[in-house]
Symmetry: C2
Amino acid sequence: MNVLLVYAHPEPKSLNGSLKDFTVKRLENAGHTVQVSDLYAMNWKTTLDANDSTHRVSEERFHPSLDSKHAFEHGLQSDDIAREQDKLRWADAVILQFPLWWFSMPAILKGWVERVYAYGFGYGVGEHSEARWGDRYGEGMLAGKRAMLVVTTGGWESHYSARGINGPIDDVLFPIQHGVLYYPGFDVLPPFVVYRTGRIDQARYAEISDALGKRLDALATTTPIPYRPQNAGAYEIPALTLRPEFAPDQSGFVAHIE
Amino acid sequence: MNVLLVYAHPEPKSLNGSLKDFTVKRLENAGHTVQVSDLYAMNWKTTLDANDSTHRVSEERFHPSLDSKHAFEHGLQSDDIAREQDKLRWADAVILQFPLWWFSMPAILKGWVERVYAYGFGYGVGEHSEARWGDRYGEGMLAGKRAMLVVTTGGWESHYSARGINGPIDDVLFPIQHGVLYYPGFDVLPPFVVYRTGRIDQARYAEISDALGKRLDALATTTPIPYRPQNAGAYEIPALTLRPEFAPDQSGFVAHIE
């Protein structure tokens, strides 16, 4: 497979840096082709703004989504954005690797999502009608590709358990896994999460890399999280609420998993 | 009161720009003193990196939290970070205003959180013992201050309802409200959310600004979301799971609200 690793940590000599190098090697040894977008090393422009287009719709007023649409449709996007979109088109699987900072991805990676997911590419795709509400949540430009998070956190596993103070890790990651990955079409694999990163000795690193290696070996075969597709009957359109017969007693994030 | 408005939208002539101006005027007319951190206008440095300190612990290896701790303790933080911390110390109430992009805050605001919330200021505060796990979740440097989100989104209110496809808005915002605001001690007020921003005519703008105005008038008196404090008996330490007698049948984000 072609695998794109989008990686966001500022220090190569870190746990994240080691796991990134391990990942590339493991995948290449298994015969995959790997590209890495090392956002810090690339000095990735984090902030979405009017300079993301080489020619704006209007000089008077910058409109984030309309300017993005215009730039995407007319080949007027800045090169760094277009290059990342090409990598996504090329990839069969995408891994986002990052430390969990303030219960989400680092700003530099958030800015990658905001800028690379142009209108017409990451959103604003497909028709809106009585039967469909755009190609999203299971459909879209990235449909047919797999995605997986590799996340490190200083907190303990129990802090992210069902009744842990930070909230369950699957709920903390839902806005990313469902909202950023499933939305434009990815099949989302269960995340690989490393807890308590402040205490990692050689033995624990060996355990972690062994477990990560197994996940990477199964990248093509792991069953994705069964999020419900938007346009296949489970949701009222345009309200986009679950029809009463689906998960009748549930609400919240978990209701959107079959 | 002293009110800090941290604002993240790239275009002054936008709905967000109008609501920001409205907010400042309304608060000043009510006798409050307002400072605005207009992150785009300030050209805020979004990415947390080694340049955030004027003198690193080690030139060999950048360690995000240890370098932050060292810089904070020794007055070696870059000026832009120290200035924002001073504004936070000065403020009685803080409003974060932003468009919801990909189910979270814009990268520029996430980078404000990551850089301004230094070790010793936003986290890493207080002792860890058998009875306490740091001053956080209800305690911390920002305790006694109020915070509120003002958020705009293109999606419909039903899309963010209990069974809406994006997830309930309170759950989507939990990593910010609980994880970014309650964590360092803020009392968090219910959010003010504007839905379906693609369709706002004059009449609807009047409704929205009227409703926002009422929320601003009540900034000092609105009852905060009753998140459970970490060190007051509801959680096992150090597992930080809810004790069985608290919300015995619940799990997930909602269990952390009294």
